[in-house]
C-alpha cells in the first residue's frame, strides 16, 4: 500500500501542471460574473479544444477512440490540477466524454466511432442524456417513449425529463422502447439523436433551487436514422448499464466539504467564543469528517481495483450512498449552528448561501444516479448476495403492465 504517487504519476502531474500553467489562465472565467448559457458553452468548447490539443482529452478513454488511454489516477491528477483554475466545464462536455463515448466505443460501429469520437473530444459536439421519464426514474426500464421503425428511420414519440443542458447540446444519447410485446428490460433500443431534429421541444424544468439547469424534452414524430442506433435492436438496456457504470464510479468521494464546515463553525460567533466550542457540533463534524476521509480512501481503493482491471461493481455505490446522507445532514447542521442569520444572510455572505444551496442540492444527490433505496438494494444483492426483490413485472410483456 502506498498513498504516495509513483514516479510515473509524479511526472504526469508535473507535466500537467506545466501545461495548465501555460494554457489555462487565458480560458479562466471572470470571477463573480454569471455567464449566459450560450456563452458558457462557447467558452467550454474552446477550453475542451485546448485540452484536446494538449493531449489531455479523454484521459481514460482508449486510444482507439482517440483518448489518451491513461489511468484513472492520471485522470484524477489532471482534474485536481485543473481545479486550481476557474475553467468553463459543464455536463455538456462531461456527458460526451463520460457517457456518450464509452457507450459508442463499446456498442457502436466503427462508422459511429469515427463520426462522434474525435469531434466530441475536440469539444465540437456537446451532449445531453435522455434516459429518465416521468414514470421511469429508479425504475428506468419502465420508460414509455417509443420508437417505431419506418424504412431507414425510426419515429420517436414521448417525453424525457432531467436532461441537463439539453437546450445547449448538439447531440443526445437516448433510450426508447421499440418492442412493447416483450418484458420491459428487453424491448429497449439505444440511439444518438441530433438535438436540432424537427419535433424535439425542450422546456426548462423549474427547480426548487430556483435554477432551471434540467429540462423536459418532448419528442413528437421525431425521425432518427437507423444509422444512429447504437447496438442491436433490443440491446438498449445493456447500453444504459454501460453508461450508468461510468457515472457511478466517480461520485461522492471527492468533495472536501467537512473541513469547510469546521471552518464555518469556527467563524460563527457564540457567546465569547465560536460555534465550534460546542461539544455536540464538534462530535457531529468529527464523525462526518471521519466518514468523508473514509470516502476518499475508499475511492482510492476502487481506483486501485479499476487500474487492475477489476470491476468494483456495487461497491462504488457505497461511497455515493454515504456521501448523499452526509451531505444533507451536515449542510443542515451548518445552517442550524449558524442560527437565525442562516435563514436570511446578508447579501455579502456567499458562504451561507452556498450552504443553503448544498442543503437543497443534497436532495438531488440522494435521488439522482441511484436513489438511496436503490443503492441499498444493489449493495445487498450484488455485494452481499441477498435475494432480489419480488418482481411483479419480471416476465410480463410491457404492454400488459398497468
Amino acid at each position: 500500500m502506498d498513498f504516495n504517487e509513483s514516479p510515473e504519476e509524479a511526472a504526469f502531474r508535473t507535466a500537467a501542471k506545466a501545461w495548465l500553467a501555460a494554457n489555462a489562465p487565458q480560458h479562466e472565467l471572470p470571477e463573480g460574473v454569471m455567464l449566459d448559457d450560450t456563452e458558457e458553452v462557447m467558452l467550454g468548447r474552446a477550453w475542451q479544444r485546448a485540452v484536446y490539443d494538449g493531449g489531455y482529452a479523454g484521459i481514460t478513454l482508449p486510444t482507439a477512440l482517440g483518448g489518451r488511454g491513461g489511468t484513472g489516477i492520471e485522470a484524477l491528477i489532471f482534474a485536481e490540477e485543473e481545479a486550481r483554475y476557474n475553467l468553463p466545464k459543464g455536463p455538456y462536455i462531461g456527458i460526451g466524454l463520460g457517457m456518450a463515448l464509452p457507450v459508442i466505443g463499446k456498442h457502436g460501429t466503427p462508422e459511429q466511432i469515427a463520426a462522434y469520437a474525435d469531434r466530441t473530444l475536440k469539444g465540437e459536439l456537446t451532449w445531453c442524456q435522455l434516459f429518465s421519464e416521468p414514470s421511469a426514474g429508479s425504475d428506468l426500464a419502465n420508460l414509455r417513449t417509443k420508437a417505431v421503425r419506418a424504412g431507414d428511420d425510426w419515429i420517436v414519440n414521448g417525453q424525457k425529463v432531467w436532461s441537463s443542458w439539453a437546450h445547449r447540446s448538439d447531440m443526445g444519447i437516448l433510450v426508447v422502447r421499440t418492442d412493447p410485446s416483450v418484458p420491459k428490460h428487453k424491448g429497449l433500443t439505444f440511439f444518438v439523436v441530433d438535438m436540432t431534429s424537427p419535433g424535439i421541444d425542450i422546456r426548462p424544468i423549474r427547480q426548487i433551487s430556483g435554477a432551471s439547469d434540467f429540462n423536459e424534452t418532448f419528442f413528437s414524430d421525431v425521425r432518427i436514422p437507423d444509422a444512429n442506433r447504437i447496438g442491436a435492436v433490443g440491446e438498449g438496456w445493456a447500453c444504459c448499464m454501460t453508461v450508468l457504470m461510468g457515472e457511478r464510479l466517480n461520485q461522492g468521494g471527492e468533495r472536501g466539504g467537512i473541513e469547510n464546515l469546521i471552518a464555518y463553525a469556527e467563524a460563527t460567533p457564540r457567546g465569547a467564543g465560536t460555534a465550534l466550542d460546542s461539544g455536540s457540533v464538534r462530535m457531529a463534524l468529527a464523525q462526518a469528517l471521519a466518514e468523508e476521509q473514509a470516502g476518499k480512501s475508499f475511492q482510492a481503493r476502487l481506483r486501485t481495483m479499476v487500474s487492475r482491471g477489476e470491476n468494483p461493481g456495487a461497491l462504488a455505490a457505497m461511497v455515493k450512498l454515504a456521501f448523499a446522507r452526509r451531505y444533507q445532514q451536515t449542510s443542515g447542521l451548518a445552517l442550524e449552528l449558524r442560527g437565525m442569520d442562516a435563514l436570511a444572510p446578508p447579501a455579502g455572505d456567499a458562504r451561507t448561501r452556498e450552504i443553503q444551496h448544498d442543503y437543497i442540492w443534497s436532495t438531488v444527490i440522494r435521488i439522482a444516479g441511484g436513489a438511496d433505496e436503490v443503492l441499498k438494494n444493489q449493495i445487498a444483492e450484488r455485494v452481499l448476495g441477498m435475494p432480489g426483490e419480488v418482481r411483479m413485472d419480471k416476465n410480463v410483456p410491457f404492454e400488459q403492465l398497468k
Partner: protein, 362 residues
C-alpha cells in the same frame, strides 16, 4: 386524567383546517412566491374576521382570551398548509410579549389592534450569525440604536417588540429612525428583514425578565406548527407512494418506504404527545413549562426534519420541481428548526430543567 383535546379544541382545529384548505391550495403559495409577495394579505384579513388573530389576547382587549392549547390548534393548521401570514410574529411573539411584560396603557393601546389584525407586530432578537439573543442593540432613554437581523415579517409589521439586553422595547417601524431592508429568505414564504435603528423612538415594556417565558411559550406554538407541517408531509408522501408504481407494484408496498414512513409517523406522534403536554403546561402548570417546552421543541424539530426530507426523497425527481409541493416544507422546516433557538439551545434548557442536574457550560 384526560389526555386528549377537548371537543371545542377539535372543532376549532376543524374550522381552521377547513378554511385554510380552501384558501391556501399549493398553487396559491406558488403565486405568492412568483409575486415575491410579503404575505398572504387576504388570508390575514380573513383570519382577522374570524377572530383568530385575537385568539390569545384577553377578552378585555378585544380578543377571544383562549388558552395556549386552543391557540395551538390554529398554529398547527397554519403549519399544515405553510400559510404565509405573520401569525407567529404578531400573536405568538409580539402580542404575547406585550401581554406578559407591557403596562396597562401599552396593552390597551396595542392589543385591541393586534387582535383585529389591523396592526401587525413582529419580534426582533437576532443580531446576525451566532447567538439566539443579540447583545448590541440597547435602549438609552427613549431612543433605540443598533441593528437587528434577520427579523421575520418586519415588512408588513407596523410594530416591533425589540429585545435589548434583558429588556423588551416597543418600537413603531413607520418612523424615520427605523430603516428596513428586505433580505433574501431561505423560506420563500416567510420574508425577513434587517432593521437598523438610529435614535428610533422606543418605549420599554416595564415588566422585565419575561424573555425566557416568552420563548418557552413561543416554541410550544412552533412545535404545533411543526407537527401540522410534518403530518402534511407524511400524508403527502404516503399518498404519493400509494399511487406511484415502481417495478410493477406501488412504491408504498416496498418495505424500505413503509419503514421510512413508519419512522416518520412515530416521530410525528412523539412530537404531538410532547406538544400536547407542553400546551397543557403552558396554561395549567407553568412550573413544568420550561422542561416541557424544551422537550416539545426537540421532538418537533426531529419530526419535521425527518418528514420534510423523506417526503422529498419518496417523491424522487418530481419532488425537486417547483411544481411539486415538497419544497415549501423543505424550506419552512429549516425556519422552524432555527428561529427561536436551535436544537442545541433547547437541549441545554431541557438538561438544565431536569431534576438533579444543573446547567453546564459548552
Amino acid at each position: 386524567m384526560n389526555f386528549d383535546l377537548s371537543d371545542e379544541q377539535k372543532m376549532l382545529a376543524e374550522q381552521a383546517r377547513g378554511l385554510l384548505a380552501e384558501r391556501v391550495p399549493f398553487d396559491r403559495l406558488r403565486k405568492l412566491i412568483d409575486a415575491n409577495a410579503e404575505w398572504d394579505e387576504p388570508l390575514w384579513r380573513e383570519l382577522g374576521e374570524m377572530g383568530f388573530l385575537g385568539a390569545n389576547i384577553p377578552e378585555e382587549f378585544g380578543g377571544l382570551g383562549l388558552s395556549e392549547l386552543d391557540l395551538a390548534m390554529i398554529s398547527q393548521e397554519l403549519g399544515r398548509v405553510n400559510a404565509a401570514v405573520p401569525f407567529a410574529s404578531s400573536l405568538v411573539l409580539a402580542a404575547d410579549a406585550i401581554r406578559l411584560a407591557g403596562s396597562d396603557v401599552q396593552k390597551a393601546e396595542w392589543l385591541p389592534r393586534l387582535a383585529t389584525g389591523e396592526v401587525v407586530g413582529c419580534f426582533a432578537y437576532a443580531e446576525g450569525p451566532g447567538d439566539l439573543l443579540g447583545r448590541g442593540v440597547r435602549q438609552e432613554g427613549a431612543k433605540l440604536n443598533g441593528t437587528k437581523t434577520p427579523v421575520a415579517d418586519a415588512g408588513v409589521a407596523t410594530l416591533a417588540v425589540v429585545q435589548a439586553g434583558e429588556a423588551l422595547a416597543l418600537v413603531r417601524l413607520d418612523q424615520p429612525g427605523v430603516a428596513r431592508t428586505r433580505l433574501d429568505s431561505f423560506d420563500q414564504l416567510r420574508p425577513h428583514y434587517r432593521l437598523d435603528f438610529a435614535d428610533a423612538d422606543a418605549e420599554l415594556l416595564p415588566r422585565g425578565g419575561q424573555i425566557e417565558t416568552l420563548f418557552d411559550r413561543a416554541v410550544v406554538q412552533a412545535a404545533f406548527e411543526a407537527v401540522g407541517a410534518a403530518e402534511a408531509c407524511l400524508t403527502m408522501a404516503r399518498d404519493y407512494a400509494m399511487e406511484r408504481q415502481m417495478f410493477g407494484r406501488p412504491l408504498a408496498g416496498y418495505q424500505a418506504i413503509k419503514h421510512k414512513l413508519a419512522d416518520v409517523a412515530v416521530a410525528v406522534e412523539m412530537a404531538r404527545s410532547n406538544a400536547f403536554y407542553a400546551g397543557w403546561a403552558a396554561g395549567d402548570a407553568s412550573g413544568e413549562l420550561p422542561g416541557a417546552a424544551a422537550a416539545a421543541r426537540l421532538t418537533a424539530i426531529t419530526a419535521f426534519e425527518m418528514a420534510a426530507r423523506e417526503n422529498l426523497q419518496v417523491h424522487g425527481g418530481i419532488g425537486y420541481t417547483f411544481e411539486a409541493n415538497c419544497h415549501f416544507y423543505y424550506r419552512r422546516e429549516r425556519t422552524l428548526a432555527i428561529a427561536l433557538g436551535n436544537r442545541e439551545h433547547w437541549a441545554e434548557r431541557l438538561i438544565a430543567h431536569t431534576p438533579g442536574s444543573q446547567t453546564k457550560a459548552a
